[in-house]
Symmetry: D2
Subunit: 346 residues, 4 copies
């Protein structure tokens, strides 16, 4: 049985495990105050070309979204996000749990349009009753999106300029950031993110770590007493070293980028193979997630060859499924899956 269910089905990349073992007996202070956390932060600042960035490590994606959004919003503010955004749909109300509304914007293959964002912000401020409404206090985007799509640099700059005009922060959810940065079809760099965003995170869990996300505040703008906020959310790890050592390793010798690039290569190989077979794609994804539009019968046959994720049901006859690659995907398994589509599509 092949495994293309998601990009977090294995443990960690071997280099990380080796590093955990090497450092295991060093006694280190807790709660993220150790040497490895510091060094990892410094390496990330260098990778971002952003020496003044505040950096904090958290354990998972939903946790990161909850802590960052809650601690950057005023209590009367909500966060604007695509209706398909992770915070809108798939976090069990983690944002509302902290008292904030997610203000849904239309999505276009997972992305929001700067024009639609601007129209919605303008409509809020022009509404004479806006004091009775939730203030839009932040814009959330994911990159890659939940559909694997990417913003262009021009699009990011446009969103950024709108946020600046309305004096609200732009937050980028980078749960799969590596795959975005290493895509063949992107002009966006880490340094661009530091320029365009007020906060973003570099996802580890889905890019080779056991767990962990690195939150970057590129303008030295971490919320006051952020460590206490993290603790209050139940999100402060006692053995902060677990996060520090992993990110220290990921940002050594470009490991984060090499792992991501491998997943992209595998994804492109898969896409090319499936296209050749005539497999119908739901949309064009330039990253490590590919979305297929299959019939029930095809899905039944797919199940015999590989694990995959159910995504959505656009109509009665079809289902969208996701196939994901990662650092752990082998060329061999991709070729085997492509071959299986002869039978699956038949």
């Amino acid at each position: 049985m092949l495994s293309f269910e998601n990009d977090y089905q294995e443990g960690a990349c071997p280099q990380i495990l080796a590093r955990l073992i090497e450092t295991n007996l060093e006694p280190l202070s807790g709660y993220g105050s150790d040497f490895y956390c510091e060094r990892a932060k410094e390496k990330i600042r260098q990778a971002c070309e952003c020496p003044q960035a505040d950096i904090h490590f958290l354990t998972g994606g939903t946790q990161t979204n909850q802590v960052v959004i809650d601690s950057m919003l005023a209590p009367y503010e909500g966060v604007a996000a695509a209706a398909t955004g992770h915070v809108s749909l798939h976090e069990a109300g983690a944002i509302e749990f902290t008292g904030h509304k997610v203000l849904a914007l239309p999505h276009h293959e997972g992305k929001i349009l700067a024009e639609e964002l601007e129209a919605s912000l303008r409509a809020f401020w022009e509404d004479p009753n806006h004091e009775h409404m939730v203030f839009p206090g932040m814009v959330y985007i994911s990159h890659p999106t939940e559909y694997g799509t990417l913003y262009t640099k021009a699009e990011l700059e446009h969103l950024s300029s709108i946020c600046e005009a309305y004096e609200i922060p732009l937050y980028l959810d980078g749960a799969r950031l590596g795959y975005g940065l290493m895509s063949d079809r992107t002009d966006v760099t880490l340094s661009d993110l530091c320029r365009c965003c007020d906060v973003f995170y570099i996802g580890g869990t889905k890019v080779g770590a056991l767990c962990g996300e690195a939150v970057v505040f590129p303008k030295s703008n971490a919320p006051r007493h952020f460590l206490t906020r993290v603790k209050q959310h139940g999100a402060l790890l006692a053995k902060g070293r677990l996060l520090g050592i992993q990110f220290d390793m990921l940002f050594t010798d470009d490991l984060y980028f090499l792992l991501s690039r491998h997943a992209i290569d595998m994804s492109e190989l898969l896409k090319a193979g499936l296209k050749k077979k005539g497999c119908p794609f739901y949309l064009e994804s330039p990253t490590n997630q590919q979305f297929l539009l299959l019939t029930d019968a095809q899905i039944e046959r797919l199940k015999r060859f590989t694990t995959f994720s159910f995504w959505e049901k656009p109509d009665e006859e079809h289902i969208v499924v996701r196939l994901a690659t990662s650092w752990a995907t082998t060329e061999e398994s991709v070729r085997a899956l492509v071959e299986a589509f002869d039978e699956i599509l038949a």
Copy 2:
């Protein structure tokens, strides 16, 4: 420099790291639905002699307290706890963050007295204005407490019977449970906890794991849709395997108990050595944390030999410090520390 600062300064016990490596490339389903989580739960049920227990894994102690307390209380209820309880003092308001008051009870070396608990519950219900007050909806105890002390079986049974009479759950915070169970001076077993408590957790972070706590609902009484509650708190790990594999290992061949026993042995060795030197103890602790009552000058000298934790300042002349042992403490380091007290106390 020696290291007695706490019991979470190293990584994980070597057996856990080895197991993470062995299982690393197995593709597993996410969010705690994998084989290792299931097997770890089954082993814990056996260790508890409690086949019907619901078990869930979380990442850290404050997170566990927050999720468990919030999901077991009605919204108009608070949790009664010692004024020195971790939830009362050292979780940055994580319980209040979820809308619940911590109702402080007097403490006796970290423990609450059943009689005082009963008096406080009775006073609440007899107060004609109690509908304008926070309902006591749960009792929280830690075992070992924040002062390393332990409840006896009779004390636990007494607390349990009061909770039963008032129809509220008894919750035991077992962040350091192993050290309690393996103390020379305890008559409490895991099976007793299943009988006396409505929920408790078996701490991993402070007993040899990289992270992780196992919440046990011994009466098949996990709150409805607990996984969604965990997700809503931002506490659901994508790679649930990280927790499952660790607890699977900890409950194989009594590893959890052997690690704990080693720490107790080291703690007893330290205690005996220091007592012989005439070192003043703040209280008598039967577990892996020892509390010394030192002067400022003694503390200055202590700093030259080992790391330790500041605990509290009972008066102008003294400071209470904590020395902690763990699975990683060596006999050699204990002997070196004891020896150093000739100079420290001088």
Copy 3:
């Protein structure tokens, strides 16, 4: 200057003020435990033909929505509501403040369609990832809606049967309930609401009271310790008599219905007059709020004659405004306003 801005611009109907004065010096117990609250509840039960109803008084509409929804939902649940519902748009996030998501449904002149509700509930339960999503735990409708429209009895019964099938309560926001019940074009009675809804409120603030809303739980199903929940929300009035006396009066000699009927008569007179003048209506409202679709120039002229409310801006050339009648609207003022439209529309 005429006044058609809203239905809460005057104080209270004179009968209520007279009653407040008559009872003013009677010492009464606080927090809603007084004789008048009891008698008002009994009269409402009779008007509803629902002797077993639990009834509670609150001060205002948003407060009522917040307290009712928060106290009836489980923490992991949200409330489904029209995207134009008061709870969705105009309560400054009061629902999210209590940790619950408002799950937006498409609206049709303010109403939701049973078919669309059913489809959304079914989609949730069929989604294999639904444990990572907010559970739909209640359905909120307003009647009259924010656009003055009404559900038919058949529509209510349909919504009710879907809620029953999915085992979630149906909640009806009756901020303007009187105007709904006394409309010429309704077949819905209070007794129908008791049958179809699990909770609803009878609005006082917008139907002749100084303040006050009566929450009806027709199935003796008030949440446990509801008074404490109300207190916890900061919503318990010390002088509960203020609410009890008003509702006692409103439900004496059909006052609530007579006040509402007068407003409907005035609204129908206004509508007939404006239609005759060729005034464009935004939609057909059978209650006390009328929505006109005017140009900027017309609005400027309208301002010279009367106060009114801005509603929304459907396109660049038009604005929707609302004119509202109430118990205090005089026939004279309606005729004056109608006449003014010769000039306004010119």
Copy 4:
């Protein structure tokens, strides 16, 4: 039967009712934006000799405490208050509901000591683990306290200087402020409060109004978007006029002070009479609430003559009861009650 149960058992003082009737038919804009609210604010600013004060009206005491404390604290902060403070004990957890801890301080007949406050603040900041604790972000005092006692001007100034030194606001709960200001034994004026406090409220509900409290931010320091915060808490009254008209009246011709003075006169008459009879007082109260220490048998006899409030049970043999006077208390009823004590104490 006499009535000394509390100071909110009657409706409103007659002048307020008369004013509500006079103004009843004036159409006014909603949500506190009307002329009477504005004029009441101006009159309060004059009474406070504080022209720059921001003033907002809310409906009740617990609501006011909740809204003010929540909107002035940072999310990681709690409020320090006497263990007997209303926010600590009798608001059903309304403060914790908004995510904030109430940090209990020792009380002395309801008051906190500046020295103890300072020690607790210093201890927090000196604790090396304070980032894991709730930050003290505000100090709450009530004046009069829940025991009818008062701070002296020197005590207020001392508390104020400590708050200033630690850069946290001082909040004074003035639910019964009138009785404090008009006590025979006070040197505190409204103007002192503006100088010493960062926010306080002038209670209406317990001093002659139907409902309503006036929050004063004497340093033009109302939290940003306070109206939206109020709305979000479900605390914004549609007919804001109800509050504005009452406070406009209360601050016309010194009505607020005359009503309060009458209650003080009645309280002093009662106290003098009871002392002469040898009645045991629990403590010395200079305001409108008197606390008696009676036996069960005496309480049984007391019940035959008057209503009163149970306060607390200091030991098995005694009960503390409260007798309260108000604007509505007559000299005749006081004399009758005093006389009854011949029999009650016998």
